[in-house]
């Protein structure tokens, strides 16, 4: 089976004035469909850069990134936008919901940019909210929801376009431990349902719940191991 994500010698270099910073130096990684994987590492390890590249928010300066059979490392901005829309569902630490929009409208957003219209869009968004247990909060704005509920809205939004990967960046970073646990159970459930989940985190107990942990250090893969103790 060919990998969902195929990364070869991926490098990302930033220029700050005269200084060149190598945030990633030659990362090679395969991620298969329906994997549940955590990317860990201390700050400065290249974790965020990795997340941006995996999420097609950024392009590498070296190497190749194949996503779902398409080489996305050399695409234009608009082509990347299309890939993000179809293939990737983002879940952020700070939720990143539109404050003035209702839950339903927030979840509809990816469908707007996918060109899904009217009734179908509303129905799909409502179904996604149902899936995360928030079918009764569709007309609430983010400010009227708890942190856990907001993150569920964000997960519904990430899922609504049926993406190849769910990419979560410190998804429990802003939540208390009880709520974190709830949210992690949602991810575990989604994974059990066949969803590929990639989580970027620096919290070992979050990573411990995934099935594979990739640790980055100084822009390189330090370790890549199967997590045998994962709660299945």
């Amino acid at each position: 089976m060919s990998a969902l994500i195929r990364i070869r010698d991926l490098g990302r270099e930033y220029r700050m004035g005269d200084e060149r910073i190598l945030a990633l130096r030659g990362v090679t990684l395969d991620i298969h469909r329906n994997e549940y994987l955590a990317i860990m590492g201390p700050s400065g390890s290249g974790k965020s850069t990795m997340m941006n590249l995996l999420g097609c928010l950024d392009t590498p300066t070296a190497g190749e990134y194949w996503l779902n059979g398409e080489e996305v490392s050399r695409l234009t901005d608009d082509a990347l936008a299309r890939v993000r829309n179809r293939e990737i569902g983002f879940v952020f630490q700070t939720f990143n919901l539109l404050p003035r929009a209702t839950s339903l409208h927030n979840v509809e957003l990816p469908l707007v940019y996918a060109g899904v219209r009217g009734r179908e869009r509303r129905e799909r968004a409502a179904a996604a909210l149902d899936q995360v247990g928030l079918g009764h909060r569709m007309d609430h704005r983010p400010s009227e929801l708890s942190g856990g509920q907001r993150q569920r809205v964000a997960i519904a939004r990430a899922l609504v376009n049926q993406p190849s990967i769910l990419l979560a960046d410190e998804p429990t970073g802003n939540l208390d431990s009880v709520t974190s646990d709830e949210i992690m159970r949602v991810f575990t459930q989604l994974h059990a349902g066949g969803q590929t989940v990639i989580m970027v985190t620096h919290e070992p107990d979050i990573a411990a719940r995934t099935e594979r942990v990739v640790v980055l250090r100084d822009g390189q893969v330090e370790s890549d191991r199967v997590n045998r103790g994962a709660a299945a």
């Binding site: 999420g55 901005d77 957003l109 940019y113």
Partner: protein, 413 residues
């Protein structure tokens, strides 16, 4: 993003911040208000001037031979005025001479008028326009009689002391009485009222019904004109072509009678409806020339305000832009969103401006004698201008928004 979607989104955003949105579209609002109001008032004035003013005071296809023009608008220089005063006045003999030499079919009336007081039964009506003229005057003016009759050629020849009065004069001086047959005092002389002219309405808020008409030959003539002297000979023809012919004949007759050399200017004047409108046309042309400038200034200001508001919106909503981009918005989606938002804002201003402009025009119409007529084309121009100002003002902020790096935008506070 489809246009309709973008417009709906724009309305949602605008509704989300009503006050700020309102202030940002005030410039466009004022510009369009101004456009609609000025065009409405000028157009209304135009129609009024042509339909009421000129045709009421002079009449269609009609001209007056006078010492000097009777209706002046705009600035007459002191020199011109003195020149006019040096003209000899029009005499009975001038009038008869011209009448004999006009071959074009026409109706003529000698005319003299001034303001006098009319007394009846201890009451007095001041500032009554006393007209001394011939029986043809009623036909020239298209006067219809509400009561009684007009005077006849015989009565003119016989210098009979009879009066045909205006509606208002009859009501004020003889309220609740049938005026026909009553005798009133004009300059101490008794005059018998034989007819009342149907209501003529007002002009610029002044009544057109406060007059009395008598044969020019009657004794009261001395109150309004010196012996043998006329204010005007009124000539009415059937159509504009005939009027031009008659005008030329009248001019030739007067020049030969006054023995003017080809190099000399006329020492008499013709007043036409067209001529009365001349100055007004100049004024309205200036207004219409100045209008685009005035409207343009407020629209440019309005556009700059909207551009600023949109630039602020872009920096305030950087995170929103980042989120949208992360979720798959392409550059052109973001571009469309902000351009449409600016255009919707501006169009909303334009629509309000149209509303205010029409209100203003009707307020002017209701509160002053000035008329107003809303010109449909000005409404269309208002909408088009509003939308284009918004589009122009939105492009720069929107293109900045569309070029934001999603990673940077997502990190924004």
């Amino acid at each position: 993003m489809p246009l309709l979607e973008a417009i709906r989104l724009a309305f949602r955003t605008i509704r989300g911040q009503k006050l700020k949105s309102f202030f940002s579209l005030v410039g466009v609002l004022i510009g369009v208000t101004f456009l609609i109001a000025v065009v409405s008032i000028v157009q209304g004035m135009n129609r009024y001037m042509v339909e009421r003013f000129a045709n009421t005071l002079i009449g269609a296809n009609t001209f007056e031979l006078r010492q000097r023009p009777s209706i002046n608008m705009g600035n007459i220089t002191h020199e011109t005025w003195l020149e006019w005063l040096r003209h000899p006045r029009v005499s009975y003999a001038d009038a008869d001479f011209v009448r004999d030499r006009i071959r074009t079919p026409a109706t003529f009336a000698k005319f003299c008028a001034d303001r006098v007081s009319v007394h009846y039964d201890g009451k007095v009506a001041k500032d009554v326009e006393l007209v001394g003229t011939e029986e043809t005057y009623f036909r020239i003016r298209n006067y219809e009689l509400a009561a009684g009759r007009a005077f006849t050629a015989q009565e003119v020849r016989a210098s009979q002391p009879v009066l045909v009065v205006g509606h208002e004069l009859a009501e004020k001086l003889l309220p609740g009485v049938d005026p026909v047959g009553k005798v009133v005092q004009v300059g101490g002389l008794p005059y018998r009222i034989i007819g009342v002219v149907a209501r003529q309405g007002t002009l610029f808020g002044l009544s057109l019904d406060k007059f009395a008409i008598m044969p020019f030959s009657a004794q009261g003539r001395r109150l309004i004109c010196p012996i043998n002297i006329l204010d005007a000979l009124i000539v009415r023809t059937d159509d504009p072509t005939q009027m031009q012919l008659a005008l030329a004949e009248a001019e030739a007759a007067m020049r030969s009678r006054r023995q003017l050399k080809p190099s000399e200017e006329n020492d008499f004047a013709f007043q036409t409806a067209e001529g009365a409108l001349g100055s007004w046309k100049k004024i309205s042309r200036i207004l219409f020339l100045a209008l685009p400038g005035l409207v343009a200034i407020s629209l440019v200001v309005g556009g700059i305000v909207i551009m600023n508001i949109m630039l602020m919106a872009v920096s305030e909503r950087t995170r929103e832009i980042g989120i949208r981009k992360a979720l798959g918005a392409r550059r052109r989606d973001i571009l469309a969103q902000f351009v449409v938002e600016a255009a919707t804002l501006s169009a909303a201003g334009a629509v309000m401006g149209i509303g205010f402009g029409i209100l203003l025009a009707y307020a002017v119409k209701a509160l002053t004698p000035l008329p107003a007529a809303v010109a449909p084309w000005s409404v269309a121009v208002g909408v088009i201008l509003g939308v284009s100002v918004g589009l122009a003002a939105g492009v720069y902020p929107a293109s900045r928004a569309s070029r934001l790096d999603p990673i940077v935008a997502l990190r924004a506070e």
